[in-house]
Symmetry: C2
Subunit: 121 residues, 2 copies
DNA sequence: AAATTGTGTATTCCGTGTATACACAATGTA
DNA sequence: TACATTGTGTATACACGGAATACACAATTT
Protein backbone atom coordinates (compact mmCIF):
# COMPACT_ATOMS: atom_id res chain seq x y z
CA UNK A 1 0.00 0.00 0.00
CA UNK A 2 1.47 3.27 -1.13
CA UNK A 3 -0.36 6.56 -0.68
CA UNK A 4 0.56 10.21 -0.76
CA UNK A 5 -1.19 12.88 1.26
CA UNK A 6 -1.28 16.46 0.07
CA UNK A 7 -2.08 18.94 2.81
CA UNK A 8 -2.44 21.68 0.22
CA UNK A 9 -5.17 19.75 -1.59
CA UNK A 10 -8.70 20.99 -1.18
CA UNK A 11 -9.87 17.42 -0.76
CA UNK A 12 -10.14 16.03 2.78
CA UNK A 13 -7.43 13.54 3.77
CA UNK A 14 -9.79 10.62 4.19
CA UNK A 15 -11.04 11.13 0.64
CA UNK A 16 -7.52 11.27 -0.76
CA UNK A 17 -6.82 7.94 0.93
CA UNK A 18 -10.07 6.46 -0.34
CA UNK A 19 -9.49 7.55 -3.93
CA UNK A 20 -5.90 6.37 -4.10
CA UNK A 21 -6.50 2.99 -2.52
CA UNK A 22 -9.65 2.28 -4.50
CA UNK A 23 -7.77 3.14 -7.70
CA UNK A 24 -4.95 0.78 -6.69
CA UNK A 25 -7.39 -2.03 -5.97
CA UNK A 26 -9.24 -1.57 -9.25
CA UNK A 27 -5.99 -1.43 -11.19
CA UNK A 28 -5.02 -4.77 -9.64
CA UNK A 29 -2.08 -3.29 -7.79
CA UNK A 30 -3.52 -4.57 -4.54
CA UNK A 31 -4.46 -8.23 -4.92
CA UNK A 32 -7.57 -9.88 -3.56
CA UNK A 33 -7.05 -10.91 0.04
CA UNK A 34 -4.29 -8.36 0.59
CA UNK A 35 -4.37 -7.17 4.19
CA UNK A 36 -4.37 -3.41 4.61
CA UNK A 37 -2.13 -2.10 7.40
CA UNK A 38 -3.78 -1.74 10.83
CA UNK A 39 -5.48 1.64 11.12
CA UNK A 40 -3.25 2.63 14.04
CA UNK A 41 -0.10 1.82 12.11
CA UNK A 42 -1.33 3.58 8.96
CA UNK A 43 -2.23 6.62 11.06
CA UNK A 44 1.28 6.69 12.53
CA UNK A 45 3.03 6.31 9.18
CA UNK A 46 0.87 8.89 7.42
CA UNK A 47 0.95 11.26 10.41
CA UNK A 48 -2.81 11.51 10.53
CA UNK A 49 -5.47 10.61 13.04
CA UNK A 50 -6.84 7.11 13.52
CA UNK A 51 -10.30 8.49 12.81
CA UNK A 52 -9.17 9.81 9.45
CA UNK A 53 -7.86 6.42 8.38
CA UNK A 54 -10.96 4.75 9.76
CA UNK A 55 -13.15 7.03 7.66
CA UNK A 56 -11.26 6.12 4.50
CA UNK A 57 -11.47 2.39 5.27
CA UNK A 58 -15.21 2.77 5.94
CA UNK A 59 -15.72 4.28 2.49
CA UNK A 60 -13.79 1.40 0.95
CA UNK A 61 -15.98 -1.07 2.81
CA UNK A 62 -19.13 0.78 1.70
CA UNK A 63 -17.98 0.53 -1.91
CA UNK A 64 -17.47 -3.19 -1.46
CA UNK A 65 -13.75 -2.93 -2.17
CA UNK A 66 -12.60 -4.35 1.16
CA UNK A 67 -14.10 -6.42 3.96
CA UNK A 68 -13.33 -5.96 7.60
CA UNK A 69 -12.87 -8.56 10.30
CA UNK A 70 -12.72 -7.21 13.81
CA UNK A 71 -9.57 -8.38 15.53
CA UNK A 72 -7.94 -9.50 12.29
CA UNK A 73 -7.81 -6.66 9.82
CA UNK A 74 -9.15 -5.26 6.55
CA UNK A 75 -8.77 -7.31 3.40
CA UNK A 76 -9.13 -6.50 -0.27
CA UNK A 77 -12.30 -8.17 -1.55
CA UNK A 78 -12.41 -10.91 -4.16
CA UNK A 79 -13.32 -9.87 -7.70
CA UNK A 80 -13.42 -11.40 -11.11
CA UNK A 81 -11.68 -9.21 -13.72
CA UNK A 82 -15.12 -8.48 -15.17
CA UNK A 83 -16.43 -7.28 -11.84
CA UNK A 84 -13.39 -5.08 -11.38
CA UNK A 85 -13.93 -3.46 -14.74
CA UNK A 86 -17.61 -2.94 -14.02
CA UNK A 87 -16.97 -1.34 -10.64
CA UNK A 88 -14.23 0.84 -12.06
CA UNK A 89 -16.46 2.08 -14.85
CA UNK A 90 -19.29 2.69 -12.42
CA UNK A 91 -17.09 4.87 -10.23
CA UNK A 92 -15.68 6.74 -13.20
CA UNK A 93 -19.08 7.27 -14.79
CA UNK A 94 -20.52 8.63 -11.58
CA UNK A 95 -17.76 11.21 -11.43
CA UNK A 96 -18.05 11.88 -15.14
CA UNK A 97 -21.72 12.81 -14.89
CA UNK A 98 -20.79 15.52 -12.41
CA UNK A 99 -17.89 16.71 -14.54
CA UNK A 100 -19.87 16.93 -17.76
CA UNK A 101 -22.72 18.85 -16.19
CA UNK A 102 -20.18 21.63 -15.71
CA UNK A 103 -19.08 21.48 -19.34
CA UNK A 104 -22.69 21.44 -20.48
CA UNK A 105 -23.49 24.55 -18.48
CA UNK A 106 -21.02 26.38 -20.71
CA UNK A 107 -22.80 25.09 -23.78
CA UNK A 108 -20.04 22.73 -24.91
CA UNK A 109 -20.91 19.99 -27.35
CA UNK A 110 -19.58 16.46 -27.06
CA UNK A 111 -17.22 17.09 -29.95
CA UNK A 112 -15.80 20.19 -28.30
CA UNK A 113 -15.24 18.29 -25.05
CA UNK A 114 -13.45 15.48 -26.88
CA UNK A 115 -11.34 18.03 -28.74
CA UNK A 116 -10.23 19.72 -25.51
CA UNK A 117 -9.61 16.35 -23.88
CA UNK A 118 -7.22 15.37 -26.64
CA UNK A 119 -5.20 18.51 -25.95
CA UNK A 120 -4.46 17.65 -22.35
CA UNK A 121 -4.76 13.91 -21.82
CA UNK B 1 -29.96 37.19 -14.72
CA UNK B 2 -31.41 33.84 -13.78
CA UNK B 3 -29.77 31.61 -11.21
CA UNK B 4 -30.80 28.62 -9.15
CA UNK B 5 -29.40 27.80 -5.74
CA UNK B 6 -29.28 24.23 -4.54
CA UNK B 7 -28.95 23.92 -0.80
CA UNK B 8 -28.36 20.19 -1.17
CA UNK B 9 -25.34 20.80 -3.40
CA UNK B 10 -21.95 20.24 -1.85
CA UNK B 11 -20.72 23.39 -3.56
CA UNK B 12 -20.82 26.65 -1.59
CA UNK B 13 -23.54 29.10 -2.61
CA UNK B 14 -21.15 31.79 -3.77
CA UNK B 15 -19.51 29.29 -6.11
CA UNK B 16 -22.84 28.18 -7.54
CA UNK B 17 -23.62 31.82 -8.31
CA UNK B 18 -20.18 32.37 -9.82
CA UNK B 19 -20.36 29.31 -12.04
CA UNK B 20 -23.86 29.95 -13.33
CA UNK B 21 -23.34 33.63 -14.08
CA UNK B 22 -19.94 33.14 -15.69
CA UNK B 23 -21.46 30.42 -17.88
CA UNK B 24 -24.28 32.76 -18.88
CA UNK B 25 -21.85 35.54 -19.73
CA UNK B 26 -19.64 33.27 -21.80
CA UNK B 27 -22.62 31.81 -23.62
CA UNK B 28 -23.66 35.35 -24.56
CA UNK B 29 -26.87 35.16 -22.57
CA UNK B 30 -25.79 38.23 -20.63
CA UNK B 31 -24.70 40.93 -23.04
CA UNK B 32 -21.73 43.22 -22.61
CA UNK B 33 -22.68 46.21 -20.49
CA UNK B 34 -25.55 44.38 -18.83
CA UNK B 35 -25.96 45.63 -15.27
CA UNK B 36 -26.14 42.91 -12.67
CA UNK B 37 -28.75 43.44 -9.94
CA UNK B 38 -27.56 45.33 -6.83
CA UNK B 39 -26.04 42.92 -4.34
CA UNK B 40 -28.66 43.78 -1.72
CA UNK B 41 -31.50 43.08 -4.11
CA UNK B 42 -29.92 39.85 -5.35
CA UNK B 43 -29.39 38.76 -1.73
CA UNK B 44 -33.06 39.41 -0.96
CA UNK B 45 -34.36 37.60 -4.03
CA UNK B 46 -32.07 34.59 -3.58
CA UNK B 47 -32.61 34.52 0.18
CA UNK B 48 -28.91 34.58 0.89
CA UNK B 49 -26.56 36.97 2.64
CA UNK B 50 -25.17 40.12 1.05
CA UNK B 51 -21.69 38.79 1.72
CA UNK B 52 -22.41 35.63 -0.21
CA UNK B 53 -23.46 37.59 -3.28
CA UNK B 54 -20.50 39.92 -2.86
CA UNK B 55 -18.14 36.94 -2.84
CA UNK B 56 -19.60 35.64 -6.11
CA UNK B 57 -19.37 39.09 -7.75
CA UNK B 58 -15.76 39.39 -6.55
CA UNK B 59 -14.86 36.13 -8.25
CA UNK B 60 -16.50 37.36 -11.45
CA UNK B 61 -14.47 40.55 -11.22
CA UNK B 62 -11.27 38.58 -10.60
CA UNK B 63 -11.95 36.53 -13.71
CA UNK B 64 -12.39 39.72 -15.70
CA UNK B 65 -16.00 38.89 -16.53
CA UNK B 66 -17.51 41.98 -14.93
CA UNK B 67 -16.29 45.38 -13.81
CA UNK B 68 -17.54 47.20 -10.77
CA UNK B 69 -18.26 50.91 -10.29
CA UNK B 70 -18.92 51.95 -6.72
CA UNK B 71 -22.24 53.75 -6.50
CA UNK B 72 -23.38 52.61 -9.93
CA UNK B 73 -23.30 48.84 -10.14
CA UNK B 74 -21.60 45.83 -11.69
CA UNK B 75 -21.50 45.49 -15.46
CA UNK B 76 -20.70 42.64 -17.78
CA UNK B 77 -17.33 43.33 -19.41
CA UNK B 78 -16.80 43.93 -23.13
CA UNK B 79 -15.50 40.98 -25.14
CA UNK B 80 -14.91 40.11 -28.75
CA UNK B 81 -16.37 36.71 -29.65
CA UNK B 82 -12.79 35.41 -29.91
CA UNK B 83 -11.96 36.56 -26.42
CA UNK B 84 -15.11 34.95 -25.09
CA UNK B 85 -14.22 31.65 -26.67
CA UNK B 86 -10.68 31.83 -25.33
CA UNK B 87 -11.79 32.60 -21.79
CA UNK B 88 -14.42 29.88 -21.90
CA UNK B 89 -11.92 27.29 -23.06
CA UNK B 90 -9.44 28.41 -20.43
CA UNK B 91 -11.99 27.91 -17.67
CA UNK B 92 -13.10 24.57 -19.03
CA UNK B 93 -9.54 23.34 -19.54
CA UNK B 94 -8.57 24.26 -16.00
CA UNK B 95 -11.44 22.16 -14.68
CA UNK B 96 -10.71 19.42 -17.16
CA UNK B 97 -7.14 18.99 -15.94
CA UNK B 98 -8.49 18.27 -12.47
CA UNK B 99 -11.15 15.92 -13.80
CA UNK B 100 -8.80 13.91 -15.96
CA UNK B 101 -6.24 13.42 -13.21
CA UNK B 102 -8.93 11.40 -11.47
CA UNK B 103 -9.57 9.29 -14.56
CA UNK B 104 -5.84 8.77 -15.02
CA UNK B 105 -5.43 7.54 -11.47
CA UNK B 106 -7.68 4.64 -12.44
CA UNK B 107 -5.48 3.87 -15.42
CA UNK B 108 -7.97 4.97 -18.06
CA UNK B 109 -6.68 5.71 -21.54
CA UNK B 110 -7.88 8.66 -23.61
CA UNK B 111 -9.89 6.30 -25.80
CA UNK B 112 -11.64 4.76 -22.82
CA UNK B 113 -12.53 8.20 -21.47
CA UNK B 114 -13.94 9.27 -24.84
CA UNK B 115 -15.92 6.03 -25.02
CA UNK B 116 -17.49 6.59 -21.60
CA UNK B 117 -18.16 10.23 -22.44
CA UNK B 118 -20.16 9.25 -25.51
CA UNK B 119 -22.36 7.07 -23.33
CA UNK B 120 -23.52 9.90 -21.10
CA UNK B 121 -23.13 13.20 -22.89
C1' DA C 1 -29.30 66.89 1.07
C1' DA C 2 -31.16 62.32 0.30
C1' DA C 3 -31.40 57.96 -1.94
C1' DT C 4 -28.95 54.29 -4.16
C1' DT C 5 -25.14 51.30 -4.64
C1' DG C 6 -20.74 49.34 -3.64
C1' DT C 7 -17.01 48.55 0.28
C1' DG C 8 -15.24 47.23 4.66
C1' DT C 9 -15.43 45.33 9.16
C1' DA C 10 -17.00 43.06 13.47
C1' DT C 11 -19.50 39.47 15.52
C1' DT C 12 -21.76 35.24 15.64
C1' DC C 13 -23.24 30.55 14.34
C1' DC C 14 -22.84 26.00 12.27
C1' DG C 15 -20.93 22.03 10.02
C1' DT C 16 -16.91 19.44 8.60
C1' DG C 17 -12.42 17.73 9.04
C1' DT C 18 -9.08 16.46 12.21
C1' DA C 19 -6.80 15.22 16.47
C1' DT C 20 -6.36 13.01 21.23
C1' DA C 21 -7.79 9.87 24.51
C1' DC C 22 -10.12 6.21 26.59
C1' DA C 23 -13.17 2.14 26.92
C1' DC C 24 -14.98 -2.02 24.66
C1' DA C 25 -15.17 -6.20 21.38
C1' DA C 26 -13.15 -9.84 18.71
C1' DT C 27 -9.14 -12.49 17.48
C1' DG C 28 -4.76 -14.76 17.99
C1' DT C 29 -0.95 -16.43 20.76
C1' DA C 30 2.08 -17.58 24.72
C1' DT D 1 -6.14 -18.21 31.05
C1' DA D 2 -3.66 -13.93 30.34
C1' DC D 3 -1.90 -10.75 27.16
C1' DA D 4 -1.15 -8.51 22.80
C1' DT D 5 -3.16 -7.09 18.53
C1' DT D 6 -6.74 -5.20 15.86
C1' DG D 7 -11.15 -3.16 14.94
C1' DT D 8 -15.27 -0.30 17.09
C1' DG D 9 -17.45 3.34 19.55
C1' DT D 10 -17.64 7.55 22.01
C1' DA D 11 -16.41 12.00 24.15
C1' DT D 12 -13.96 16.16 23.82
C1' DA D 13 -11.58 19.78 21.62
C1' DC D 14 -9.81 22.79 17.97
C1' DA D 15 -9.41 25.03 13.31
C1' DC D 16 -11.42 26.51 9.27
C1' DG D 17 -14.77 27.80 5.84
C1' DG D 18 -19.37 29.14 4.64
C1' DA D 19 -22.90 31.97 5.87
C1' DA D 20 -25.77 35.36 8.35
C1' DT D 21 -26.66 40.00 10.66
C1' DA D 22 -25.52 44.56 11.51
C1' DC D 23 -23.36 48.86 11.16
C1' DA D 24 -20.28 52.43 9.27
C1' DC D 25 -18.06 54.46 5.14
C1' DA D 26 -17.40 55.83 0.05
C1' DA D 27 -18.98 57.04 -4.52
C1' DT D 28 -22.72 58.19 -7.61
C1' DT D 29 -27.19 59.95 -8.94
C1' DT D 30 -31.22 62.76 -8.32
Amino acid sequence: MNVTISSTSEKPIYQQLYEQISAQILKGELESGYCLPPIRQAALELHVSVITVKKAWEELERSGLIHTVTGKGCFVAEFTPDEMLRIRNEMILKQMVTDTSYYKSFGLTLDEVVELLKQIY
